[in-house]
């Protein structure tokens, strides 16, 4: 595990200003998905109990259904943990010199990219939809000098505050 002051390739005089993760509402979404996936077999059990009770006494089909049920829960756990890992390990670090983006793109697939504060030309925020507006999160686009590509920070909490912070650090740099 890494400490909260960890910066990949730290430079002399470089300090962490803030770390950003996706907004917690994204993780609540994952949790709700987990709850729905958990309830599907229970609903199926109720349907079978009411309409096909013979299945629950059958000497071959009952063990088969039980094995399928537990296999489903194991795959569901793997899937949920994988979704968590993919989202939780996406971290953006703002230092007094750089913006560093660390993205998890699946198992054994991780990208690190960075942007010099001195090259920042424009910071734009977009908050589209009901949930981003209600819970105050959105995407942050950082435009750099000389490059057409934009640096994108997805689902950042309080994106306007983060944009102001980047402007402030740019002016101080």
């Amino acid at each position: 595990m890494v400490g909260s002051n960890f910066i990949p390739g730290r430079r002399p005089g470089e300090n962490v200003v803030a770390h950003f993760w996706r907004h917690p509402i994204i993780f609540i979404g994952i949790f709700l998905m987990f709850v729905v996936l958990f309830l599907i077999p229970l609903a199926s059990y109720l349907i079978i109990e009411n309409f096909l009770p013979q299945l629950l006494q059958h000497p071959v089909l009952l063990p088969l259904l039980t094995v399928l049920l537990f296999s489903y829960y194991l795959f569901m756990l793997t899937f949920s943990l994988n979704v968590w890992v993919d989202n939780y390990l996406d971290v953006w670090t703002l230092t007094n010199m750089r913006i560093i983006s660390r993205n998890q793109l699946g198992w054994f697939n991780r990208t690190n990219s960075e942007l010099e504060l001195s090259k920042v030309q424009d910071v734009a925020v977009d908050q589209k939809g009901i949930l981003p507006t209600l819970f105050n999160y959105g995407n942050l686009h950082v435009q750099t000098a000389g490059a057409t590509e934009r640096f994108l920070l997805k689902n950042v909490p309080s994106p306007v505050k983060v944009a102001r912070l980047i402007h402030k650090l740019y002016e101080q740099y």
Binding site: P59, V67, L74
Partner: protein
Amino acid sequence: MPFLESFQPTIVIFYWAYLVVVVIFLLLFLVNLYHLLRFGFFSFVNLGVILISMLVSFSLIAFSLSILQSFDWSTPLIDSNIFGTFLDGLLGGLELFKF
């Protein structure tokens, strides 16, 4: 082929299949755990997720194996009597093929 004639597959193949699923799950779980330990921040959230996921996973495996112990795995996979009785129960009273 006397061997093939005497060979009667039992439902224990479901149990073996489940054990394969458990092994695959454990491998994938270790991969996820590796990512959280290697790249995650040292925080209560990360430690909490690691501990809860370990607790839930091992409890589920232990519980499932204890439930599966209660079945008679020597039951023949294909037994015309079992399926005949089952179909009779399922179609109970319909008498579809009785003219």
